[in-house]
Amino acid sequence: MTTQVISFRDPGRSLDLARLRKISSEIREDILMMLSEAGSGHPGGSLSAVEVVVSLFFVKMRHDPSDPLWPDRDRFLLSKGHAAPLLYAVLSKCGYFPHEELKTLRKIGSRLQGHPDPTKLPGVEIPGGPEGIGLSEGIGMALSSRLDKRSSRIYVMMGDGEMDEGEVWEAAMCASKFRLENLTAIIDRNGVQQDGITEQIMPIEPLAAKWRAFNWNVLEVDGYDFSSILAALEKAEKAKNRPTVIVAHTTKGKGVDFMEWQSEYHGKVPEKAVVQKALEQIKRG
């Protein structure tokens, strides 16, 4: 498979739903393929957020794989860095690096570290691994972008389990203090964290009300409906004087029936034969 490098510098790309669906399905295949090659990693939270990340990279964000450090780019910060396979599959599809390289995930010498490392791989904006830091980094970038009078927008994706981290709420307060309208947080509300269901491990509801109380513009979407994801991203861009959080309602392990809602598949990769079954399901759609 050859890698096509496309420029995403122009805003307002056309909304071809069939194409986005096809891309998402291929991303899911890539995620499973690379995890299977690696023999370890995190399928559940990679599969859950595919459509949101595809909407950002293929429609909404202005970025350029041939010039990853383009200063006016929009930035996607994966705060839940364990979903690295999702980020890598999308970056590669955009042309940031060859598709072949996906197979090196988690292998010695690879640029595709178990958790993303911006010093190694183009397109990666922040280091991943420990949950709870990304929103703070997004604030730093949003402040910098404002100081430099750039129009860059900053998107930070967090997990719902990540809401347990205190730093997230330090950052929530901080972003509204600085009225960061160029900052959008997205919560992948897939209902499951590592040890189980979020509402059992550490209840986070009422989630939207919490963010509202922190003076954020709060939007909720079906995380698999491209039109509503993109409409929310548009609205976020129009919000004035405050940051926006989009709660994307999703399903952990989306697309593979035996992985859906299962915390068991948060950080476990099945046998190759089982992966084969999963791939067939995804191909069937």
Partner: protein, 309 residues
């Protein structure tokens, strides 16, 4: 006498004029650290995130990833203390251009007590790859070393003390990061110190002289990377080395010197520092005496080395 914190405030204001990319992030202690002087001069480049040290580090990382030179500062118990993971996994991991400036190192903090007297911070920062660690010995070197750190890309941890201290250097002194300053030559023992202990080491050397002992005094303001060459050079002529710092004897300058010399040129060493205990409330001098970090502790350690020769 001059306060390192005043020096910090002054140097940041002048660096801010030189470098429009310099930004300062604080955590509700900006008045105490005199970071507020920068805030008054450059309000748009000054961010107070409140009492939220983890967020402060994350925000600093984001600013640095976007191309800024970042100063993040608060008290040493809280930074690194509260945010070691954030420091490790963002700033150090990606070699980000963030200068962490921590005030209130050591028992000299005084009446606030043990909760506010960082004695482990140099150790926690020293063991993290890419992090360079500096403990200036007076107000002038504080300015010069911070200025040098700001023109050298990548992460630094710079630790200063709360009380005013004697001025050792002059505006003309030339200091560089990673290079030990030989403040006084000597042939019997060498005292390797940093922070508030350097002015005490100079006094100890005077006392030792009156007792017939020739003591060199080396300001090892850079704990990492350690200037091993200068240490080896002195270890050849003296009978032993005294290290002196306002930190736990475990993990700080004393450990760094012992580790390096035992590999390159085994030397007898005595470490003056806090003996693996927490501090408590009291006045600076009382506490420094109680916790074994005075001029006298240094001269006694040196005498022991000479007598054991």
């Amino acid at each position: 006498m001059a306060a390192m914190r005043d020096a910090l405030g002054e140097v940041l204001v002048s660096l801010g004029a030189r470098d429009p990319k310099l930004v300062v992030v604080g955590a509700d202690t900006t008045g105490s650290l005199k970071l507020s002087a920068f805030g008054t001069k450059y309000p748009d480049r000054f961010f107070n995130v409140g009492i939220a040290e983890q967020n402060m580090i994350g925000v600093s990382a984001g600013l640095a990833l976007a191309g800024k030179t970042v100063i993040a500062g608060t008290y040493a118990v809280f930074m690194p203390g509260r945010a070691v993971d954030q420091i490790r996994n963002t700033i150090a991991y990606c070699k980000l251009n963030v200068k962490l400036i921590a005030s209130h190192g050591g028992v000299s903090v005084g009446p606030d007590g043990g909760s506010h007297q960082a004695l482990e911070d140099v150790a926690t920062m020293r063991v993290i790859p890419n992090m360079r660690v500096i403990v200036p010995s007076d107000a002038i070197s504080t300015k010069k070393l911070i200025s040098a750190a700001c023109s050298s890309p990548g992460p630094y941890y710079i630790r200063i003390a709360r009380p005013s201290s004697e001025v050792i250097y002059s505006e003309e002194s030339e200091l560089s990061i990673g290079k030990t300053e030989v403040l006084r030559d000597g042939s019997d023992v060498a005292i390797v110190s940093n922070g508030l202990l350097t002015s005490r080491a100079l006094k100890a050397a005077e006392t030792l002289k009156s007792q017939g002992v020739s003591a060199a005094v080396l300001d090892s303001h850079t704990v990492k990377p350690l200037d091993i060459e200068t240490l080896v050079r002195f270890s050849r002529s003296v009978c032993g080395i005294v290290t002196a710092e306002e930190h736990n004897v475990i993990g700080g300058l004393g450990s760094a010197v012992a580790e390096s010399l035992s590999e390159s040129r085994p030397t007898r060493i005595r470490r003056v520092g806090v003996r693996d205990v927490f501090g408590e409330s009291g006045e600076t001098e009382e506490l420094m005496a109680k916790y074994g970090v005075t001029e006298r502790d240094i001269s006694e350690a040196a005498m022991k080395l000479v007598k054991e020769r």
